[in-house]
Amino acid sequence: MSGAPLLEVIDLATHFHARAGVVKAVDGVSFSLARGEVMGLVGESGSGKSITGFSIIGLIDPPGRVEHGSIKLEGRELVGLPPAELRAIRGKSISMVFQDPMMTLNPMLTIGAQIGLALEAHETVSAAERRSRAIAALAQVRIPEPETKVDFYPHQFSGGMRQRVAIAIALLHRPKLIICDEPTTALDVSIQAEILAEMKELVAELGTALIWISHDLATVASIADHVCVMRYGKIVEAGPVLDVLTRPQHPYTQGLLDALPSRAKPGALLARGAGTDAAPPPRAAREEEARKSAAGVPYVVVDAVGKRFQRKSGVLRLLGQRLGIARPLPVVQAVDAVSLSLSRGEALGLVGESGSGKSTLGRMVAGIYAPDSGHVLLDGERVMSEGERAHKITTRIQTIFQDPFASLNPRMRIGDSIAEGPLAHDLVSRAEAGPYVAQWLAAVGLDPAFAGRYPHQFSGGQRQRVAIARALAMQPDVVVCDEPVASLDVSIQAQIINLLIRLRQELGLTLLFISHDLSVVRHLCDRVAIMHRGKIVESGPAGEVYENPRDAYTKRLLAAVPVLPVASP
């Protein structure tokens, strides 16, 4: 085709003028895109990759603004275009798909109405034509029975279906360019694989150029021709996908690749996270009889544990929710008579997609939820008391949570958060509490002087270290880790994984590691159990399950994981 590129971005700078100063979210980015080309834009959080996308489509809200630079679509300058002309381009020539399909569609309008609104934004169509076009658009993104589905509301669709609807709206006017901002991050692995495959077909079919923004190198590798790696608002490396991923030139790209557990030998420290941390403080002298059980003998026993969340509804509940009094109904998410056992010092990975019941099971093992049936034993003793108002009675199992922003009390100094449990259980005296906390902070690689700070003064990775220190300061024998690295950037994730590997060895911990990420589990765990719809469908030594899955669901799950191209030696 013609020699001129479809999109040309030259020295683009988008800054946010916050009260604390100017944040240069995008700081001199240049790239170009040919017709029908698929480009991946990769970076960790805060790298400016999403802002770049929003700048191209002209949706930067104050206090942000495009400071300088040029964005040319087929030679036409977009920067500085009046709002009305920009609007005429949006949805028509350039369209966009967002991360969370739960939030992008209007819950109050039918799918058909929303597609209709998007149609009318650029065309005048009759009611009948609107409907038939909407049905055709749904059919195009492989939504079954589009004639009925067109009258559905978003809540009647699953996350993957909603994202397909969003893609259908984005493709409506056959735009020359689609920008997808982390479109599969909020979805499960198997849905992600489907969307990736479909998206690849669709853009090829329509000849649409695509910018795929993601933090995940593997998904980008499976869809893009070219890739740009962003960091601190700048592109540090760009080139064909294979070249960048197999022969990275920039140390940052190299570091990102090294941080991926899927590329390292299971159990080994990841290159990115190497650091020298102090040793944890010695355990308080507890009767050694309590820990006499030998290795290999079942140490933690989960016996036919079940949990059901009931839907409470009714007029009053409805009224209550409307007034903002009652909390939203919990999703019915059951654990169905699951039995498991862990031997002492073992690390068991519990893998499943969202809604599989893995977190609920983990919370029952940790003594946060009381099971409806069955029980959990540690060393032959019950974790929770029996009876109507069951509560946890052991301190030997502790928990590390997924979201380090939510798992620390925002109104407590972190030192107090760490010391609170040990003080309440006489593991340490009030006089020793200060040094004890300091030792733990050092052990998780934080400056002991941080004890007086509040959680908001830390980054996500640092907070997760604090949360680990708090759990371990209780001197547990077993630690339940519920997706402890899922909300962290790749390089931070590597550091936390390294910390867990090291502390587990030093303290002889038994781990129950819950994750949706198969590569992290593979790296950390000796055994895995795959959970699906409240049941464990397969379990066994990690290597065995990964190499020779027997269960059909496990096979599907493993096949769905996008794989990075590996450099030929």
Partner: protein, 308 residues
């Protein structure tokens, strides 16, 4: 204060060496709205004036020896027989209106604060308690509160104060009874949300005793929305008390709040002696508006959905 404003935190570097408590951060953010700071200043000023009313007021309006009937209903600026100028005029009994307003402010604020605090304590205890206990008790308590919330506070306060009779304690009880439900609802909503958060589950998994989880973890994190409700409800209590006094079912005549001053002046209004009613009204409105402006700012600050 000054140290916070002088040091500009660099973006995205949380690990600064200062130990900024959430309260200090809150204040720094609050100060960005000049209107809110001015409103806070007005509230503090009026509070101070009310507390020290006997020292500030030119005349003790309830000292019968000071009352001269020929001075009654004089317009602002009138120089009375006592020798000093009544800057806001005098009321029907010949009292200096400015002094009467200061004393009235004192009573209004007292009523608002006591009733508000009482409602806060009762409501927050019920709300947080219900959210923590859960089950049937939660359902029962919240059902009663829902029922009451469907009923307008003014009507409840009206009927209650009519039934309980006149008097300070009775009125406070009526006001608190009419308002505690708002605190209970807010506290319950906030506590339910906090109850499900990871940090509460973390301390439950430690485990820590229940009272400690509620007092040290859940309750402090429910405070921001409760403070918003508290400011609004103190303002409401003051307005409600004034309304009740105006309707004649509030305080006894011996305790003239701002509402009663307005009510007393109402009958003279149609004859053009507007100041007897209007000036106490302006004082009342300044107070309520100022409190609401402060509350408004705090509300914007604690609304996480408006944070970008």
């Amino acid at each position: 204060m000054s140290q916070i404003s002088s040091a500009k935190p660099a973006p995205a570097t949380p690990a600064s060496t200062r130990q900024v408590s959430p309260a200090a951060r809150f204040w720094a953010e609050f100060r960005e709205s000049k209107v809110a700071v001015a409103a806070l200043a007005v509230v503090v000023l009026m509070l101070g004036v009310a507390i020290f009313a006997p020292l500030v007021a030119p005349q003790n309006p309830y000292d019968l020896a000071n009352l001269v009937l020929t001075d009654a209903r004089r317009p602002p600026g009138y120089v009375g027989s006592g020798g000093y100028t009544h800057i806001l005029g005098t009321d029907a009994q010949g009292r200096d209106l400015f002094s009467a307003i200061l004393y009235g402010l004192r009573i209004s604020l007292q009523m608002g604060l006591i009733a508000g605090s009482l409602a806060f304590v009762v409501g927050a205890t019920l709300g947080v308690g219900a959210a923590y206990i859960g089950g049937r008790w939660e359902a029962f308590i919240m059902r009663v509160i829902d029922l009451q919330l469907a009923f307008p506070a003014i009507l409840l306060a009206l009927v209650l104060s009519a039934l309980l009779g006149q008097g300070k304690a009775q009125l406070i009880a009526a006001l608190a009874a009419a308002q505690y439900a708002y605190f209970a609802r807010t506290a319950h909503g906030a506590a339910s949300a906090e109850r499900g958060k990871d940090y509460v589950e973390a301390v439950l998994s430690t485990p820590l005793p229940a009272w400690r989880v509620v007092l040290k973890h859940i309750f402090p994190n429910c405070l921001p929305p409760l403070i918003v409700v508290a400011t609004v409800q103190v303002a409401n209590a003051i307005a409600l008390e004034a309304t009740l006094s105006f309707l004649g079912v509030g305080l006894p005549v011996t305790e003239p709040s701002l509402g009663m001053l307005i009510s007393n002046g109402f009958q003279y209004m149609l004859s053009g002696r507007y100041w007897i009613s209007i000036y106490p009204g302006i004082a009342l409105i300044m107070l309520i508006v100022a409190i609401n402006l402060v509350g408004d700012r705090i509300r914007d600050q604690v609304n996480p959905r408006l944070k970008r």
